[in-house]
Symmetry: C2
DNA sequence: CGGCAAAAGTGGCATATGCCACTAATTGAA
DNA sequence: TTCAATTAGTGGCATATGCCACTTTTGCCG
């Protein structure tokens, strides 16, 4: 039946990673859905929450995401009143982000939901294994891979 | 520096997975870019290539992706003439997919580019480690996690 | 055979992400 | 001080993904 997924295929690290991301993403999405948030939005709110009024660029860097992509993703959250932005006093080019009171409330609500999914996941794969997997994923994410195209400047 | 990424944050398996996916995704995207394909499109063409004129549902299941999402993703590839669809003789509800001759050519071209990225990745993390990571990811993807929300029908 | 439930896709709508071109604010010289 | 180069975001465009509602086929049952 699942022969369609030839063993030779899953050799692509990227495809395998995306496949797992889709799968796990749906699980966490379902979990936090009652809050009205998506898994990604929850993660974003959390990231902002644990940072100190981070600049957009700082968030983008931490999450390894394109700055403009972050901007787009932030819009629905601003629209819904969960976060707000304000210019940095020192450098007016910099836009900082923070949760609104409603955002804090919503985050607390979502954390409870998230915990259930997180716990269930850890129960299934084991906290130890989960930690190892996260470590491996962080290592991959921080590899800083680059195609030779852009030859090193020096 | 990267203090913005509090250790407490990466505890979310989903967020960690997505972050890694964004990172690796860009790497592979850059690699196959010269072919005009995205990493996901390459993966899709490959999946179709190694299958036998698979039905859309079959592909979606193998890749653990929403059927409608697959349909949307397929459009650009059909528009560009890399794949074509046709109704199944037995069951007219089923729509099968196959590569066009141009699609085969494009895939061959992309495979060469992909190989470079794949090789570079394996060189960095080690073929052994990469294989283990993929296995772990496949295991996670196939966990079949589900939020209790949908209480068993019986 | 008629009709209803299940299966397979489609289309619409919304978020997630990226890249590129462009604007505003800074910084670093000359 | 003035202007070119750099930095931080924005807006537009395109793909990636999901969910939901709806249509077409099937399959099955009385």
């Amino acid at each position: 039946m699942t022969e369609a997924r030839m063993p030779g295929f899953s050799r692509c690290n990227n495809a395998t990673l995306r496949r797992a991301a889709r799968s796990l993403g749906r699980f966490y999405d379902d979990a936090v859905a009652p809050s009205g948030l998506k898994g990604t939005q929850f993660g974003l709110l959390f990231q902002i929450h644990v940072s100190s009024e981070p600049a957009m660029g700082t968030i983008a860097e931490a999450l390894i995401m394109d700055l403009s992509a972050l901007g787009h993703t932030l819009k629905p959250l601003i629209r819904d009143g969960y976060i707000e932005t304000f210019a940095d006093k020192e450098d007016r080019r910099v836009k900082r982000v923070r949760l609104t009171p409603q955002g804090e409330v919503k985050l607390d609500e979502a954390i409870k939901l998230w915990s259930v999914a997180q716990q269930q996941f850890e129960d299934k794969v084991g906290a130890e294994q989960a930690a190892k997997l996260r470590a491996a994923l962080d290592a991959v994410a921080d590899l800083n891979l680059e195609m030779p195209t852009a030859a090193p400047s020096n």
